[in-house]
Amino acid sequence: MNFVDWFRAWLLAHPLKPPAEHDAACYTIEVMQRVRALHQPATRPAAILHWLSWPQLSFAAAVATMAVVLVTMVSLRHRTFQLARAVVQDARVIEALDESPLEPSTQEQDPELLAREAAFVDALQLAEVQPGASSSDEQWLEETVQLLEQLDEDVPPDSSGSAS
């Protein structure tokens, strides 16, 4: 007897049996429940409503988002107009008062102090002049001494006390 014949004989002597815990009636009921569930009408409307509901929800969300964006843009534009109008009004007020806040005021300075500063600048410019430009060194020295004396006279006694 070859292997195949022996094996077939062995299987014929020991036929297959289903597992002992198998319940044929319960098995059929479970399958038929799943088959009937494919035809239940309640499932279709629920599924259709499920698919119909999401565009409505998306549309509502889109409308709300557009409204928020619109309100934000309008409020920003309104505030910008208000700010521009206030700037224009302030400029008109400044123009009416004839004030120039960007230029420094020279009228508030002391005239004596300005004269002294001008004399000091002249003395410095004269001192920086080249010696060869005058007729002679002696004349240049005399003029310098005179200028220095004049400066000593212009300087108040409080500031020259420490030098003497």
Binding site: F3, V4, H14, L16, P18, P19, H22, Y27, M32, V35
Partner: protein, 199 residues
């Protein structure tokens, strides 16, 4: 028998859904055993065979009247079992088991080949149990196509011209798979058979 299946299918397609229970009652045992031989687990086999019945119901309109319902349905069962096998990505612990229900393994795998033979002596029962264990290991090591052909033809008794449409190949290809599977099993079981264990 085929005509009765066709009449039942026509009734179901006309809207008599409850008539489908006739087909479920008729084919649940072979479907369950076929799935069990692939998956080696009762719960998995039950789920797979029930899925096959539901899928067959959904595709009942595409069933050709000139074919056998059993062949068409077994092909669905085999395809579902192959998918379940790939998803599980592990071998069954036992493909075939010899012995009484009390011999179930601790992980809950129940018997596949019930050879609780009261007429056999203790020595013969022991030999059959050992053969079942070795056979389970050997079948589990076969490639899927060889295993499918071997189980459908030798274990479930389907003729070759019915195994071919179930596997979706020619009869000659089925013969080739069967020859290779038999050779592998012969080599695997040769030491045990040489010792005279098969009685």
């Amino acid at each position: 028998m085929v005509d009765s299946d066709v009449a039942t299918i026509q009734a179901v397609l006309r809207g008599e859904i409850d008539r489908y229970a006739v087909l479920v009652n008729k084919y649940q045992q072979p479907a369950l055993r076929l799935a069990f031989s692939f998956l080696g687990n009762y719960e998995d086999a039950k789920d797979a065979s029930q899925d096959a019945f539901v899928r067959a119901y959904q595709a009942l309109g595409r069933f050709r009247r000139d074919a056998k319902f059993s062949t068409w349905f077994y092909r669905i069962v085999v395809n579902i079992c192959k998918d379940a096998w790939k998803r599980r990505a592990r071998r069954p612990h036992i493909v075939a088991q010899v012995g009484a229900v009390q011999c179930a393994t601790p992980d809950g795998v129940t018997m596949f080949i019930d050879v609780d033979d009261p007429a056999a002596g203790p020595r013969e029962q022991l030999a059959n149990r050992e053969l079942g264990r070795r056979l389970s290991d050997a079948i589990g090591l076969l490639p899927m196509k060889q295993r499918t052909a071997f189980l459908l033809h030798h274990v479930h008794g389907l003729p070759l011209d019915e195994v071919a449409p179930v596997m979706g190949c020619r009869t000659g290809t089925v013969k080739s798979h069967l020859f290779r599977a038999t050779e592998r099993l012969r080599v695997s079981l040769a030491p045990w058979i040489a010792q005279g264990g098969h009685g």
